[in-house]
């Protein structure tokens, strides 16, 4: 039994097939990268798995349980956490309160939630901004807060949608570090969408490639970047030359 199994997912937006028969599995403890051209359907696939979209057909099984079409809150309670590609800039709650909401997912007690939230913030080196509102933070930190509040829900599978975009190479290093740590010490399985190849290459153990909604390749990072189709559709000649 695999950790996460995705079978033949199809998602059609009124004629535009964003996901077409996508299947793959993820094992516990893995770090999987999901890449593919813009508009290939990566975010849509995430949404189908966690339940923001109901797939037109296909099946998603998580830890042996059929979670197809479950609402996002329910998949979260199953242990799937996800972050957003585009984070909404909000003004109503401080960073700490945001993360506490995540922690409340697993407890009803305020003090427990607060303790857990502080722990996560500390872990991500965000204690400095705990009393800021989201709109007062630079985008990268906002994303990190998004990650923190998701982490506070204690996910076993963490799905990250472009956490590293907008970061410079140095900052990417830090994120890679962090993800590895989560994977190692917290035993969190990671599934991440990323366009920044340095990052994908560094962290993922396996890479899945989507193009026009279909899976066109799957394999080790080193193999993927040499794949003809992937180079043609995604990486571009220049990248290939750089290798």
């Amino acid at each position: 039994m695999s950790f996460l199994t995705v079978e033949n997912i199809v998602k059609d937006f009124g004629g535009l097939v964003a996901n077409n028969n996508v299947s793959f599995t993820i094992e516990e403890g893995e770090i999987i990268g999901l890449i593919g051209p813009n508009g290939a359907g990566k975010t849509t696939l995430f949404n189908c798995i966690v339940g923001y979209h109901r797939p037109d057909s296909g099946k998603v099984t998580f830890r042996g349980k059929d979670i197809t079409g479950m609402k996002p809150f329910a998949t979260n309670r199953e242990g799937i956490g996800r972050t957003f590609q585009i984070m909404k800039v909000t003004t109503g709650m401080t960073v700490l309160e945001n993360v506490m909401v995540g922690a409340f997912c697993r407890t009803n007690d305020r003090n427990t939630a607060r303790g857990k939230a502080l722990e996560v913030l500390n872990d991500l080196a965000l204690d400095g901004v705990k009393d800021y509102y989201i709109n007062e933070l630079p985008i990268a930190i906002q994303r990190k807060v998004g990650l923190a509040r998701t982490l506070a829900t204690k996910p076993v599978l963490l799905m990250l949608d472009e956490v590293a975009s907008g970061l410079n190479p140095k900052e990417i290093e830090d994120v890679v570090e962090l993800l590895r740590r989560l994977n190692n010490t917290k035993k969190i399985t990671l599934f991440l969408i990323e366009h920044i190849m340095e990052m994908v290459m560094k962290v993922s153990q396996r890479v899945i490639v989507l193009d026009y909604g279909e899976k066109i390749a799957e394999g080790l990072p080193a193999d993927i970047v040499r794949n003809e189709n992937v180079i043609k559709a995604y990486l571009g000649e220049k990248y290939a030359q750089g290798l």
Binding site: G92, V101, R110, A113, T153
Partner: protein, 332 residues
């Protein structure tokens, strides 16, 4: 026990706020003996009543950020339950009021479920519509007195079973007790899990959902809490006025007034609804009493009232509490 402690714990407020609360409480306690006259007392009762309504609205409207404009239907439900149970079966207030709460909660679940498929203005208009529909039904339903409404028989005074008193002082202390129960509940509520979750929903629904929050369920819960608060107030109105009809308990203007007070005071803050009611109720009543009968000035009282609403909402969208905070910050 833990909850009770939370409810009575105001320690995360500033010192000024806590002192303010104490002074305010002392004032409330001694008010009947200040010799301010009976009209002032009726105004205070209205103020406490509308604070209670506003606190209720604040759960869904303030913390939850859902523009709810149909609270009057719950005033009606609370009031009618008390009145009809008394008229039909002579059931004491202490049984009929809880019954009213239960009916209000049941009803709020029934309509909340479809209602919370809607968002934003669609939701706001839909809440108005449900309220209008209920009012129209009551207006034409002869079993519940239709538009004639229901009159409660007058009892010997004072009567603690049916909560009928000649002197307003009794009503005053009764509504004050309800007010404090409401205040302490809200103080707990804002720190509770549901309180946090609602604020998250208000900020960003998608994110809230990804954090394991069942948005619709949370909203329904908050909505029914709000409805229960309002139904309590409605029950009080029935025994206080001894007469209720659809026009005075279910009207759209009442719904708006409830939301308006909370909003103008400062939505999503504990003090907001209280401050809003403290500002608008006396303004409305005293202006109406002083200027209402003045010939040649018909409408002036309303114009002043309306202008103040306009000024506050344009000057500080966070309401009066926002203005106070603004000045406090500047003061520092």
């Amino acid at each position: 026990m833990e909850k009770l402690k939370d409810a009575l714990d105001f320690s995360d407020f500033s010192k000024a706020e806590r002192i303010g609360l104490i002074i305010f409480s002392v004032f409330l306690l001694v008010f009947p003996w200040l010799g301010t006259g009976s009209f002032a007392k009726t105004v205070m009762i209205q103020f406490l009543l509308f604070s209670l309504f506003g606190m209720g609205w604040n759960t869904i409207g303030g913390y939850g950020g859902q523009v709810e404009l149909g609270k009057a239907q719950y005033v009606g439900i609370g009031a009618y339950t008390v009145a009809l149970m008394m008229v039909w079966w002579k059931i004491p207030f202490w049984i009929s009021m809880p019954a009213g709460i239960l009916i209000a909660i049941g009803y709020s679940f029934a309509i909340g479920y479809p209602l919370f498929r809607l968002k934003g203005h669609y939701f706001a208009i839909a809440t108005i519509c449900t309220s209008l529909v209920l009012k129209d039904i009551f207006d034409n339903w002869s079993l519940v007195g239709a538009a004639k409404g229901v009159e409660l028989p007058i009892h010997e005074h004072p009567d603690f079973v049916y909560m009928q008193f000649k002197s307003d002082t009794y009503y005053y202390f009764f509504i004050m007790a309800l007010f404090y129960i409401g205040l302490f509940y809200m103080n707990w509520f804002r720190k509770s899990k549901l309180g946090y979750q609602l604020r998250m929903i208000k900020d960003d629904e998608d994110a809230a959902e990804s954090l394991g929050i069942d948005i619709r369920w949370c909203k329904i819960k908050a909505y029914s809490i709000a409805s229960a608060f309002v139904a309590v107030g409605g029950g009080f109105m029935a025994v206080y006025n001894l007469y209720i009809d659809p026009a005075s308990t279910m009207e759209l203007s009442l719904s708006i007034k409830i939301a308006l007070m909370a909003m103008l005071g400062g939505a999503a803050s504990l003090w907001g609804p209280i401050i809003g009611a403290a500002f608008l109720v006396p303004l409305d009543r005293f202006l109406g009493s002083w200027l209402g009968g003045q010939k040649g000035l018909t409408g002036i009282d309303f114009m002043i009232y309306a202008a103040l609403i306009m000024i506050v909402s344009a000057y500080q969208p966070r309401g009066i509490w926002g203005i106070i905070e603004q000045f406090r910050k500047r003061g520092r």
